[in-house]
């Protein structure tokens, strides 16, 4: 393979660190957002709303919610090689308390770069449970369900069914407006299992997820 120039190599090597830091919450901005000293609105109603937004718990009982998510990864831990992936998900759920349950529908695209660029899509439908803590500012969740291949692979046909497991050990939640929460999960584990006998076909990746949640 052609050697990349030194400069280019430095840039691309910095990419994952850039993405990691970009996905992680900006501490200074968050501090400013949360600090009562930095926000001095003249309108008392606005001030009250901002205070509620800042300080109010995000784990109120009986909450219904919807969210849309974007997630991606570069590395497949099952194949132990670079395998970029990007996906969209729509989820909705109900939280009786600091826990909840939800349903989700996801579409993921994978690109294999082994010899040529090859695309593979998968559609997943499932449900799961979640737990909120730190007054709803952090969340853990697990989801399981069915996955279907949208394209054929060399050994499996399109429509081949499998199962998926998503584990979100930690997501941080930032209120950005009334009833709107930005949910950042920098490191989730996502596994899709389509075939367990030789030749096995599993897609397992650590992914980063950015979600926008609307409270209904």
């Amino acid at each position: 393979m052609p050697e990349l120039s030194r400069r280019r190599a430095r840039v691309v090597f910095a990419c994952p660190f850039f993405f990691a830091s970009a996905l992680a919450p900006d501490a200074s901005l968050a501090q400013k957002f949360l600090s009562p000293e930095t926000a001095q609105p003249s309108d008392p109603i606005v001030a009250e709303r901002r205070a509620l937004l800042r300080e109010g718990p995000l784990d109120r009982e009986g909450t219904k919610w919807l969210s849309s998510s974007f997630r991606g990864s570069f590395y497949d831990s099952e194949l132990e090689m670079f395998l970029p992936r990007a996906g969209l998900a729509l989820s909705g759920g109900y939280r009786p308390g600091t826990y909840g349950y939800f349903g989700t529908i996801q579409y993921d695209s994978f690109w294999d770069l082994g010899q040529n660029v090859t695309h593979l899509g998968s559609l997943s439908v499932g449900g799961g449970g979640e737990w909120l803590y730190f007054h709803g500012r952090a969340r853990s969740a697990v989801a399981v369900g069915l996955s279907v291949l949208a394209n054929r692979t060399v050994l499996l046909e399109a429509g081949h069914r499998g199962v998926f497991l998503d584990v979100i050990p930690l997501a941080v939640r930032l209120p950005v407006a009334d009833g709107v929460i930005l949910d950042l999960a920098p490191l989730n584990y996502s596994m899709q299992i389509y075939r367990v006998t030789y030749p096995e076909f599993n897609l397992s990746q650590f992914v980063s997820t950015l979600s926008m949640e609307w409270t209904l």
Binding site: M1, P2, E3, L4, S5, R6, R8, A9, R10, V12, F13, A14, C15, A20, L23, A24, P25, A30, L34, S35, P36, R54, E55, G56, F74, D76, L79, E80, M81, F82, L83, F110, W111, D112, L113, G114, Q115, N116, V117, H119, L120, F134, H135, R137, A138, T153, V154, L155, L170, A171, V172, R173, L184, P186, L187, P199, E200, F201, L203, F206
Partner: protein, 397 residues
Amino acid sequence: MRARFLASACLGLLAGSQPATSFAWQILTPVSKPCHELITLSAFGEPRLGVVAKRFEEMKNLRSIVMKRIEEVGVPESRENRRFLQEVAERFELRNRSNEEIWFLASVIAGVRHPDTRGYATLKAQESRFTHLTNDSQAAHSLRRTSEDGEAGNASSVNESKRLILQTARTSHEQWWTLGAEEGKISTTWTFPFYGDNVFVRVHAPTYTLALSTHTIQDSFAHTLRDDSGAIVAVGNYVELITGRRKEGRDGPGHSDRLDQCELKTDFDRARFQRAVDATADFALATLATWQQPTFDDTEIVASLGRTFAYKKGCTVDNGYCGSPWVPFANEKITTPIRLMPGCGVIAMPLDRTPEGPLDAEWGLFGRLRGALFALLLGTPLLFAAIASVRARARRA
């Protein structure tokens, strides 16, 4: 376009995490051309890039004899193998060939790619490092080991490559005569999309083994400097170059990315490609000829290697490698050691000099880096969420 961008970005990430992205004539990846594959196909009677081997007719005749045996042996019938042949036929435009011919050529292609991949997916960073940075792997790519210094190192490296090729040719002869129909179908990995290197396909053992050594022959036209007559004047260096310790007077000319390319832009490129094809065909014909007799007679093979690996003494960096016309082309793009950041040490470590043993030490380093990254990714938001919660509680109080 998006796919190309994606491929470049991700291969860039790969390049950033491992040094051995450039090694030998290129093999097929999204960002490199199938040079080894095309040279081999041209040498085996399937001209590519408009280059026809000088001994094309001889190859056609000898190949037809081999094909009869392959027809007797039969092509493996697993689903993986059917896909393997289908993929090779599509990628290398072999669709109108018989199944037996495609299997023969697929075995050749799998064999010639193997020294660059060792059966691993091309995007496996750690395995790629291990494959290319060990001293033991250098001779298979017509490169010198770290212990092969100066002019003596040139001669030693050339002899080691010749010895390796001859040994492989002998093995292919043995396989041809001793393995039965089923035993002669050996397994190797083939990188299918999304399967990594987890799928095994079956190839024709003698053909595959023969192709392994054609890789070394072809690399001698990418990793050495030659004079006008085609004699080798210096053998290139990769390990010390990529690990940032090369001194040209001692360690030889550096590995050149320019010589890895097979875009036939200039007369030099076309002539070099033609020479690589002819040398491959020369050796393959000599080896295929030995298959016709039960006793291994290496006379023709030795003569072929003598022509391909002719070595001229007395050429050093001080005398411009005896004015080799290859030098200016090679120097257009010498491979550079990759450093993490300006001022940092090189990423690559010589695998054979780590006290803990080669691969473990590499895994250890990257294991720690990966662990630190995971801790950072999980720890930062957790800390942030905790602070946010405490502040909110304090404010309410």
